[in-house]
């Protein structure tokens, strides 16, 4: 039985028994593009697929769909959902749980053992056997850290490369002025389309600080200083919360290397606190009190 078939069977079981109202997974869209799928009907489970182009971090949809009843604006459309989660995606679930976006019992996590997603996934007809995305080349996780059902067997970790880490080292070797030029060059192209923010599972403020009507933290203009404020501010807000899916970088239309900003902060937290986001449902160390790390 292929992994796609296993996922469909599980989805069928969960929907038919009424355990969940919606299964969030992947489907084949137009032009050979894999895309998120929301299945509520048992007859529709055949849409669900699993392949090496399943790049989307589906957990980004969870806070919106699963608003817990204790929140004043009422529950989301679903009380309980099933979600197909890769190892990286599953860590985002822990981040959500730590922040009480929803409760554990509202999810049935269909974890998938993953050997990596290919470059070009999400865009038209990626080479299904092509090179892995940069984040996947460095990844040694093969099974989700949290799941209810596990689909597939953990493939062995063969070779590990870290193109992002290499780029980080290059930047760290530059002077401050060199780094500033690097980043300003990239931010200049930014359109403030907010695709990076919208695709991110950890970005779910009702009103983004950088989109306030009163321009409190940065102006509205699509200009260099404002764009830098948005990117650096967003990166800071993700400290200890970003799980490194790098979807932000994938969706950026102008190829800004956003993953480097997030990696800067995750490396700093690993260095200072030995902390890695999403390994357990605990909050980011930046938001807690000191406990022995004084100085």
């Amino acid at each position: 039985m292929t992994l796609s078939t296993e996922i469909r069977e599980k989805a069928r079981e969960l929907l038919a028994s009424g355990q969940v109202r919606t299964v969030i997974g992947y489907e084949e869209g137009l032009r050979g593009r894999t895309r998120p799928a929301f299945v509520t009907d048992v007859d529709d489970v055949e849409r669900l697929v699993w392949n090496r182009a399943c790049t989307h971090n589906l957990t980004t949809y969870l806070p919106g769909r699963l608003r817990p009843p204790h929140q004043s604006n009422g529950a989301g459309p679903d009380e309980r959902v099933a979600i197909v989660a890769k190892p990286c995606d599953s860590r985002a679930i822990n981040v959500h749980l730590a922040e009480q976006r929803y409760t554990r019992d509202q999810l049935h996590i269909i974890g998938v053992a993953c050997a990596g997603i290919v470059e070009g996934a999400g865009e038209s007809r990626p080479e299904k056997d092509g090179p892995l995305q940069a984040r996947c080349q460095a990844c040694t996780e093969r099974t989700p850290v949290i799941y209810d059902t596990l689909i597939g067997e953990a493939p062995p970790v063969t070779e590990v490369a870290d193109p992002v880490g290499e780029k980080m080292a290059e930047l760290e070797a530059m002077t401050p002025a060199g780094r500033m030029e690097f980043w300003l060059g990239h931010f200049d192209r930014c359109l403030r389309c907010y695709a990076c923010r919208q695709v991110c599972p950890a970005c779910n403020c009702p009103t983004c600080l950088y989109e306030r009507d009163d321009s409190l933290w940065t102006g509205m203009a699509i200009r260099l200083q404002e764009k830098r404020a948005f990117h650096l501010g967003r990166a800071y807000h993700l400290a200890g919360r970003c799980i490194g899916c790098d979807e932000c970088e994938r969706v950026c239309p102008v190829n800004i290397p956003i993953s480097l900003l997030n990696r800067c902060l995750s490396a700093e937290l690993e260095r200072s606190y030995g902390f890695r986001a999403g390994e357990a449902p605990v909050p980011s160390p930046v938001t807690t009190m000191l406990s022995g790390e004084e100085g």
Binding site: E181, W217, G233, Y236, V286, M289
Partner: protein
């Protein structure tokens, strides 16, 4: 002409601001470059505030809070202690010289310590020269304010 850095100092009401007052009343010399912004607690100093200060043209930002264990609000300064290293790392990564941002602890009775830290910091920033962080937008014309209308009545 010597470069006079513009330093924004976030001083917490209960400790460092009072320490600054003490430095003043003790007639201790410290550079005038520091523009003091009084906050209830150093924990109020959010990263956005610091980034905004640099965006508006500060050459240096100094955040002074109570010593750990002495915060008037118990653990407000814990938050500051935890926030600053990641912010420092991020700003340095984006091209800001790390010496332009400093976090330190000054109690209400440490007037001398206040004066010393401010002097040290000002000189360190002076040595770096004007900060190139701020990116001005396009040069725009400033309209002349129209002359005031004539007074009505007699």
């Amino acid at each position: 002409m010597m470069f006079e850095p513009r330093i924004i100092g976030f001083l917490c009401t209960w400790c460092s601001y009072t320490g600054a007052d003490l430095a003043g009343t003790s007639r201790l010399q410290s550079p005038w470059n520091l523009r003091a912004v009084r906050v209830p607690c150093s924990g109020r100093v959010s990263p956005e505030l610091i980034m905004r200060a640099f965006d508006e043209g500060a050459d240096g930002v100094l955040v002074l809070g109570c010593h750990i264990g002495e915060c008037h609000y118990d653990n407000g300064n814990h938050r500051t202690a935890k926030r600053m290293p990641p912010l420092h790392a991020l700003l340095a990564f984006a091209g800001l010289e790390p010496e332009r941002l400093r976090l330190d602890w000054v109690s209400a009775s440490e007037g001398e310590r206040f004066a010393r830290i401010v002097s040290e910091f000002t000189e360190a920033v002076r040595e770096l020269g004007p900060c190139r962080w701020r990116r001005a937008g396009p040069a725009l014309p400033r309209p002349e304010l129209a002359p005031a209308p004539a007074e009505r009545g007699g």
